[in-house]
């Protein structure tokens, strides 16, 4: 357990703020600064920021890059224009999800792929195994930092500090380059909180300066705890919880990120047959009136019959009651279905809701 943890370019800034640091995917990361609930509420009501520099940033470029990504990913990269990004999946031949990723198109044959920290080595190996055409694949994670600034006030703050009013006009999943804190930056209108905002990629050297500019502007530093609470409230999947190498996009409700009719990609046949076969289970949202928190692995019941399993659960900072996501047998996936969640020696009543409506 004495492995040396990797540090992001903002490590010293986290210590300075007296963050509680934890190990996450081999990195030393802040789980909270002042409190998970307070930080999550700052994002819902104002603006908060997250150090997400641990996420893998992989440059994929050169002749054949588009063909390689078309083959490896489920979404259609050919539909992307330079300055656009898309959510996508790396899928295996059985249709399982190797990782969920964001692909930024930078040029005709130039892409930046942002992947989960916990999957960086696995993804790089997978890409290399299929890169027969010699496309340049470079892990640039260490050279840059990534900061997500999220919340209703986030766009105005970012645009003002960058001196780049055009950012306010940027559409979702579009990005622009510019400058902030004396260095270059990529500003992408994306996030993992269900709020408006940007994810910035900046050189490692200017990361602390950029972080401080946002702190000075009143943006609250938020840790992984708040990030997880916010993504669950928004109904977003997390690798290792809602999705993994054995779950497919049909049951995970991610078919919007699968272009089944595009030219062949790995896993297409399996996903097609999963789509037309009666799905065995579905990922749903679960809304409760309880304060008890469902957690990953807890059983979902209808009466005495186990019908599924919780993948993520949290005391919702925004609602003040607990919510969850989980897989249930398809016949119990209809909105409004009443279920119970076994929480240690108790049962919590829950209602099936669409994942996107967990805050409704």
């Amino acid at each position: 357990m004495d492995t040396i943890l990797r540090q992001t370019p903002l490590y010293a800034a986290h210590l300075h703020l007296k963050a509680r640091m934890v190990e996450f995917a081999g990195w030393a990361m802040p789980v909270l600064y002042t409190g998970i609930l307070e930080e999550a509420r700052a994002v819902r009501n104002g603006a908060g920021m997250f150090d997400i520099s641990h996420m893998g940033r992989i440059q994929v470029e050169g002749e054949g890059a588009t063909a390689l990504l078309q083959h490896l990913t489920s979404n259609d990269v050919s539909a992307l224009k330079p300055s656009e990004a898309q959510y996508s999946l790396l899928t295996n031949p059985s249709g399982g999800i190797i990782d969920d990723i964001i692909v930024y198109r930078q040029g005709e044959e130039t892409y930046l792929v942002v992947i989960n920290a916990s999957n960086t080595d696995k993804d790089l190996t997978w890409i290399a195994e299929h890169n027969s055409g010699g496309v340049r694949v470079v892990n640039e994670t260490a050279e840059t930092a990534m900061i997500a600034v999220q919340g209703p006030q986030a766009p105005a703050i970012v645009a003002r500090i960058a001196g780049q009013p055009s950012l306010l006009e940027l559409g979702r999943f579009h990005y622009e380059t510019g400058e902030i804190g004396g260095g270059t930056a990529t500003f992408c209108r994306t996030g993992y909180t269900g709020e408006d905002g940007f994810e910035l990629i900046v050189p490692a050297e200017t990361a602390e300066k950029v972080w401080q500019l946002f702190l000075d502007a009143g943006v609250m530093a938020c840790g992984l705890g708040a990030r997880d609470a916010l993504r669950i409230e928004a109904g977003y999947p997390l690798y290792g919880h809602e999705i993994d190498d054995t779950t497919n996009p049909v049951e995970a409700g991610l078919m919007w990120a699968v272009k089944i009719d595009k030219p062949d990609f790995i896993g297409r046949e399996s996903i097609t047959s999963a789509k037309s076969s009666p799905a065995l289970r579905r990922l749903v949202g679960l809304s409760t009136q309880e304060r008890l928190q469902p957690r990953q692995g807890y059983t979902i019941y209808v009466g005495e019959e186990p019908v599924g399993e919780v993948t993520s659960g949290i005391f919702s900072p925004t609602r003040g009651t607990s919510i969850a996501m989980g897989y249930v047998a398809a016949r119990y996936a209809r909105t409004g279905t009443q279920v119970e969640i076994g929480i240690r020696d108790r049962r919590a009543k829950a209602t099936v809701v669409p994942k996107k409506n967990l805050l409704a």
């Binding site: 789980v31 998970i36 609930l37 005391f315």
Partner: protein, 130 residues
């Protein structure tokens, strides 16, 4: 950094005890609430329940973790803090005051002798004791 009032007794499972006549007021320490983070749920016993020293009497849950509560004393639960089950943040904000958990009428005062005083508890908690 955590507050450890000098007039209380402490258990190694991070509960505090304050004697008011023959009634023991019990809560969790400032150190415990800080370790747990935002508390979101409390499961506390009904009045009338008989507790043995070191027995499980409830559960405290934060966004991060679930933790069990152990009674530092033996006796009968005479009151449960009804205000905090829906305002769990009081345990974080005022662990020795408004955030008290239960009151127990002691069946024996022997248990009190084995509890830590403030100085010993502070040392124990600082060393990361659990």
């Amino acid at each position: 950094m955590a507050t450890v009032p000098a007039d209380l007794k402490y258990s190694k499972s991070h509960e505090w005890v304050k004697m008011e006549g023959e009634i023991a007021v019990i809560g969790i320490t400032d150190h415990a609430q800080a370790e747990l983070g935002d508390i979101t749920y409390l499961d506390l016993p009904e009045p009338g329940r008989i507790l043995a020293a070191d027995s499980l009497f409830g559960e405290v849950e934060s966004v991060k973790a679930v933790s069990e509560l152990f009674s530092p004393v033996s006796g009968e639960v005479v009151e449960t803090n009804s205000e905090i089950t829906s305002a769990t943040e009081l345990v974080n904000e005022d662990p020795y005051g408004k955030g008290w958990l239960i009151k127990v009428r002691l069946s024996s005062t022997e248990d009190l002798a084995s509890l830590l005083d403030a100085a010993d508890y502070e040392k124990f908690a600082d060393e990361g004791g659990h």
